[in-house]
């Protein structure tokens, strides 16, 4: 995977494709913001890194669209945290985005596969 710097990720964020990362991670279970940023960094092998000043505006935007919902959760002997989970609408959008991406990747593969055949 090529190196994607933070500015490039910001551009993706503006285009909307970074949303797919968040929705996918929340598909499995609710997570808080720091958890999400660590997962993205870890799973991308350090190639993708969300800064605090771009991650949270993205979360709040998804929340305003009704795709995710944040709730404060308190546990004994811990400070309360805001956990985000996917809403039914978010799940529908995620399914659609995954389908589109799969079709796009398949199309790219076919094109680039033909060139190198």
């Amino acid at each position: 995977m090529s190196d994607i710097n933070a500015r490039a990720l910001d551009r993706e964020l503006k285009r909307g494709s970074a949303e797919l990362l968040i929705l996918s991670l929340l598909d499995a279970r609710p997570r808080h913001g720091y958890d999400l940023s660590k997962l993205i960094e870890t799973r991308s092998g350090g190639q993708l890194k969300f800064h605090i000043d771009s991650l949270y505006p993205l979360l709040y935007r998804l929340e305003e669209r009704g795709w995710i919902a944040g709730n404060w959760v308190e546990k004994p002997d811990e400070r309360r945290r805001r956990l985000y989970k996917l809403t039914p609408e978010g799940r529908r959008v995620l399914a659609q985005q995954r389908k589109t991406l799969a079709a796009f990747v398949e199309a790219v593969r076919r094109v680039t596969g033909d060139e190198h055949a």
């Binding site: 808080h32 720091y34 800064h51 000043d53 949270y56 505006p57 305003e64 805001r82």
Partner: protein, 611 residues
């Protein structure tokens, strides 16, 4: 394990959100969430071996140059929340604050309908009474008379000494004055007369004025139809012309535009209608419905002499001439007449009074007294409402304390409380205007008709401006007391006091006691004033006038001039009427007079003993 409590990430987060219009609640949530993120990152870094300072620097490096956080959040809806209504929020546009305060005040007052209703009704009574009485004062006393340049109009009269007595002009003295004076542009005489109209429809008795042709020059009024009198019509034989009032023209003659030139019968004689006066023309009073010229020459009734004083006189002062100059001229002319006609004009002086003073002077003091009385009523109402507000303020100590703690400045809180009071006062004023309108109709209907121009009173823009001004002045004046009083303590004391008890503190009790004392004092003044007025009225009714009016009936009778053309025939007519009446059963005594005693009108005749 480092103590996370030592890290105050909020001071690094909050300033980055200051350019956004987040609600305070939302801003606090975001600050908490991002602080938590930074804290997690810091712990991780410290756990990985970084020093605390290094960990802090690296954690804060999550924020990049240029405050991207605010940039990315700017498009979000939550970044444009309406500013909170709670006083103490970050300052915004002044108009927005006013609007928020008004909404908050309305909402707060709606939550306490009993308090609001009591306060609004109390204020409505005070403001309504003031509005009604001011509208009368404005129409009767403050508005100019309905004549051009009416400040130059004066009434002129003769005076007799010991006791100083104001009397009407004799026709000869009037004609001499008219001829010799220079201070007045024009000088006109007038006297009320009764007219029996016959010919069209039922016979009708109406009051009219017999006037000199110059009177309409004095008043500078043109008829709406036809023309004014000519000077040559002040002569017997040419004086059978008539001007009708607008009301009489409408009522008796159906507003016939062809009335000018027609002949109508008054007191048995034919008069040619030469014009109709405008609707607003009511000189000298609305009860007079027609005007005819007085025959100064060829007067068949023998009234043109120096001994019969019956003419009222009005004049229009020449521009640039002062009343003092005119009075000096009147004095000079009176002295000359006194010297020339000592048998009739001994001790003669002349005086003048502005027409507006003549018209409304005798009701001015009474109206201003009533205005003062309703002013006191308003003060009592305001004091009552202030008392209610103070009582209510003691139950709001906690709310005010919390707001102060959250950062509301005292000025902001005072303004908020003042807005609530002003909303109350404006609501009271609106209800008061409705009450005033109703009260004014009732007052006019109940009036005996002795207040000039009262029937023209209505709630006009001047009155409404007065009401608005009164409302704002009293609202701010009386609203500041509870507002300043409720906010004078520092928050800590306030919270403690609020926690201790919701009952009124000593200072509040003192303020309320002072208000009650002021109310009692004002009420006492009103009651004493009312009692004195009632006592005066009772005493007036008990004054021995020297007359016993019980069982006395009066009526007007005007012998038709066509049948009774000279003085002797008129005297014969009256003698015959009295003789016939005295033979009626039940009649004990019969008499006749030109003017009833104590009617306020007079005609003075001079008598020279013979021999």
């Amino acid at each position: 394990m480092p103590d996370p409590a030592r890290r105050d990430w909020a001071q690094n987060v909050r300033p980055r959100l200051s350019s956004l219009r987040l609600s305070p609640t939302r801003e606090n949530e975001i600050v908490e969430e991002l602080s938590q993120h930074l804290e997690d990152r810091w712990r991780e870094l410290v756990g990985g071996g970084a020093s605390e300072d290094e960990a802090t620097r690296l954690a804060l490096a999550e924020f990049r140059e240029g405050n991207l956080l605010a940039q990315y959040m700017e498009p979000l809806r939550q970044s444009h929340a309406p500013a909170p209504i709670t006083p103490g929020a970050p300052a915004g546009h002044a108009l927005r604050h006013i609007w928020q305060d008004l909404r908050h005040a309305t909402r707060t007052l709606r939550k306490q309908p009993a308090f609001t209703l009591a306060a609004v009704l109390t204020l409505a009574l005070g403001i309504g009474a003031n509005t009604a009485i001011f509208s009368i004062v404005n129409t009767v006393l403050l508005q100019p008379l309905p004549y051009p340049d009416s400040s130059r109009l004066f009434v002129v009269y003769e005076q007799r000494p010991a006791p100083a007595l104001r009397v009407r002009f004799s026709a000869e003295n009037f004609l001499d004055l008219q001829r010799e004076q220079r201070a007045f542009e024009a000088l006109g005489g007038y006297i009320g007369s009764g007219f029996t109209l016959t010919g069209r429809g039922e016979a009708e008795f109406v009051m009219g004025q017999t006037i000199s042709a110059e009177l309409l020059d004095v008043l500078d009024v043109q008829p709406m139809l036809g023309r004014r009198f000519r000077a040559d019509e002040n002569e017997g034989g040419r004086d059978h012309v008539m001007l009708l009032s607008h009301g009489l023209w409408q009522r008796r003659y159906g507003g016939d535009p062809g009335i000018v030139g027609q002949t109508i019968t008054a007191n048995g004689k034919p008069y040619t209608v030469i014009g109709v006066m405008p609707a607003a023309f009511e000189f000298p009073h609305e009860r007079y419905q027609l005007w005819v010229p007085f025959a100064f020459r060829n007067n068949t009734l023998g009234m043109v002499n120096r001994g019969t004083h019956f003419l009222q006189v009005a004049g229009r002062l020449r521009a640039g001439t002062s009343p003092q100059q005119a009075q000096a001229e009147l004095t000079t002319i009176a002295r000359r007449l006194e010297a020339a006609y000592p048998e009739n004009d001994a001790h003669l002086t002349m005086g003048m009074t502005s027409l507006v003073e003549e018209t409304v002077g005798n009701v001015r003091t009474a109206l201003l007294l009533v205005l003062s009385a309703v002013g006191f009523v308003l003060l009592i109402a305001c004091a009552n409402v202030t008392n209610l507000l103070l009582a209510r303020a003691s139950t709001r100590q906690r709310e005010i304390a919390v707001r102060t703690t959250l950062g509301a400045s005292r000025a902001r809180l005072v303004w908020q409380l003042l807005t609530e009071t002003l909303v109350l006062y404006v609501a009271g004023a609106c209800a008061g205007v409705v009450l005033a309108s109703w009260g004014l109709h009732t007052l006019i209907a109940l009036s005996p008709g002795d207040i000039p121009r009262l029937d023209r009173t209505h709630l006009d823009l001047t009155t409404l401006a007065f009401t608005l001004g009164l409302t704002l002045v009293t609202g701010i004046g009386f609203g500041l007391v509870p507002a300043l009083h409720s906010t004078y303590r520092v928050p800590a004391e306030q919270l403690k006091a609020a926690a201790r008890s919701a009952t009124a503190g000593r200072a509040t009790r003192r303020a309320r006691a002072a208000l009650v004392a002021a109310e009692v004092a004002l009420s006492l003044m009103l009651m004493v004033g009312a009692a004195l007025a009632a006592r005066s009225l009772l005493q007036l009714q008990r004054v021995d006038t020297g007359l016993d009016a019980d069982g006395v009936l009066t009526f007007n009778v005007v012998p038709p001039e066509a049948s009774y053309a000279d003085g002797e025939s008129v005297r014969r007519f009256h003698r015959e009427v009295m003789e016939r009446l005295s033979t009626q059963s039940g009649a004990i005594a019969v008499g006749a007079t030109s003017h009833l005693p104590l009617s306020g009108q007079n005609v003075e005749n001079g008598f020279t003993p013979e021999g």
